[in-house]
């Protein structure tokens, strides 16, 4: 089964070519993030991992790297289990 990181990377790979994204690479600094990717990325994370991204989670820091996205998903999943 694909790990969270693999799934996130596979999704992001659709938006750019000739670039292998490192886990800690800043996708905003690469200039890859347009409004379309941002919206689709939020939608993807919600749907793929079955979590709800609240307005307060919409900090670009949470979506800046593959590692950060994975951490956000982990936090939301933990919150869901304990709730």
């Amino acid at each position: 089964m694909a790990t969270k990181k693999e799934k996130i990377k596979e999704f992001l790979a659709k938006f750019f070519r000739n670039h292998v994204l490192a886990d800690d690479e800043d996708i905003f600094a690469l200039g890859f993030v347009n409004s379309l990717l941002a919206m689709q990325l939020v939608g993807f994370v919600e749907k793929e991992f079955g979590i709800t991204i609240e307005d307060d989670d919409l900090d670009f820091e949470n979506f800046r790297t593959v590692n950060n996205i994975e951490a956000l998903v982990g936090r939301k999943e933990a919150a869901r289990v304990s709730a």
């Binding site: 790979a13 659709k14 938006f15 750019f16 070519r17 905003f28 200039g31 993030v33 347009n34 409004s35 379309l36 990717l37 941002a38 919206m39 939020v42 307005d55 919409l58 900090d59 670009f60 979506f63």
Partner: protein
């Protein structure tokens, strides 16, 4: 959105909405006679004129007919009216399904659809499923252009272009469906040109229309009258920007608007909107980033107001991911601020042209 509580008894439903799409039946409605019975069909009186008037007003038109698709399309071509119709539904399925499909494909609410058919059975069938559709008898053709539902509040230069813009979109969507590869390659393939600059006088009607019609890609939903917008255009303390988009399939028209209040220490974006026509074109941040660049040159910070309407989350994401931080909240109104440390470059797949 207003919907009637009970199914109407008459053929007309109490539609409050302006009609955006008129769906035509063919036999004994658009033309006299029955095509498949071998009649030499001709357009009914007043039909040609109505097609032209509605087209100029920016009201889209389509077809729901139980007929042979090939024969009917050939006849429409022969009569010289085929070009008026978007997504014609000519087959033997129910007309309610056809009307629903048209509304869905064009992406408008069923309460803005009217259906014209000579047969009460067909009108009832549509109204049974969708009471919010305005159903009309074919004998109303001559009076239709005078009805208030068919008299839009705004008729702009773009109204007459609306059909051709949707047709360009039809070709674009087909191309996108066929395209294999990264999204960015497809966007590059469109050869988009984004033109932005201060609003000109001839942009103001369209600007007013955009503030009223745009809900999803709209940061605050503030509406401004023509006169107010004209005032902002002349004001030293405001910046009123308009953006247009073209690509290899045609023009999308004027699709973006921004109003900035220029203070000495900070500029405040009161309104930033984009038409949903350009929803998946990856051009949403160009106007915003242009404002950020201008402010940086002027040595001021940028603030932005945001008012949620449940449908404009994409604009919240645009601000949040664009480096804006919340600095104040009054009720539902959020005030953001951007320190301009990080401004995204314009995307490589769009040719951005800044005017005057």
């Amino acid at each position: 959105m207003s919907m009637p509580e009970t199914a109407p008894v008459a053929t007309e439903s109490p539609s409050q909405q302006a009609i955006k799409v008129l769906v035509w039946d063919l036999d004994n409605t658009l033309w006299d006679g029955t095509l498949l019975e071998g009649d030499d069909v001709r357009l009914r009186p007043g039909v040609q004129e109505l097609l032209e008037i509605l087209d100029k007003r920016g009201i889209l038109q389509s077809i729901a007919s139980k007929n042979d698709h090939g024969a009917a399309m050939a006849k429409l071509e022969e009569l010289g009216v085929a070009e008026y119709f978007l997504y014609p539904q000519i087959h033997w399925s129910s007309k309610a399904a056809s009307v629903e499909k048209i509304a869905k494909t064009i992406n408008i609410g069923l309460d803005t659809v009217a259906f014209l058919d000579d047969q009460p059975f067909e009108r009832d069938e549509v109204n049974h499923s969708f009471p919010m559709v305005l159903t009309l008898d074919a004998n109303e053709v001559s009076a239709l252009a005078g009805r208030k539902e068919f008299s839009p509040r705004f008729i702009t230069d773009e109204s007459a272009l609306r059909r051709s813009m949707y047709q360009a979109d039809e070709r674009r969507n087909a191309a996108e469906g066929d395209f294999v590869g990264p999204q960015e390659d497809f966007l590059e393939d469109l050869e988009m040109k984004f033109i932005l600059g201060p609003a000109q006088e001839e942009d103001l009607k369209r600007a007013e229309e955009l503030t009223v019609r745009t809900h999803q890609l709209n940061t605050t939903g503030y509406t401004y009258s023509y006169d107010e917008l004209a005032g902002f255009r002349d004001s030293e303390d405001h910046l009123l920007l308009v953006a247009g988009l073209d690509d290899r399939y045609g023009t999308y028209g004027k699709i973006g608007l921004a109003l900035v209040e220029k203070g000495a220490q900070a500029w405040t974006i009161k309104l930033l909107l984009m038409s949903c026509r350009v929803m998946s074109r990856g051009v949403g941040t160009i106007l915003l980033n242009h404002i950020l660049h201008l402010a940086k040159e002027a040595g001021v910070k940028v603030r932005a107001e945001f008012l949620s309407n449940d449908r404009n989350r994409m604009m919240l994401i645009t601000y949040k991911f664009g480096g804006f931080r919340e600095i104040d909240r009054t009720g539902d109104l959020i005030l953001f601020e951007n320190d301009l440390e990080r401004i995204q470059p314009f995307p490589s797949y769009v040719d951005v042209v800044v005017t005057g």
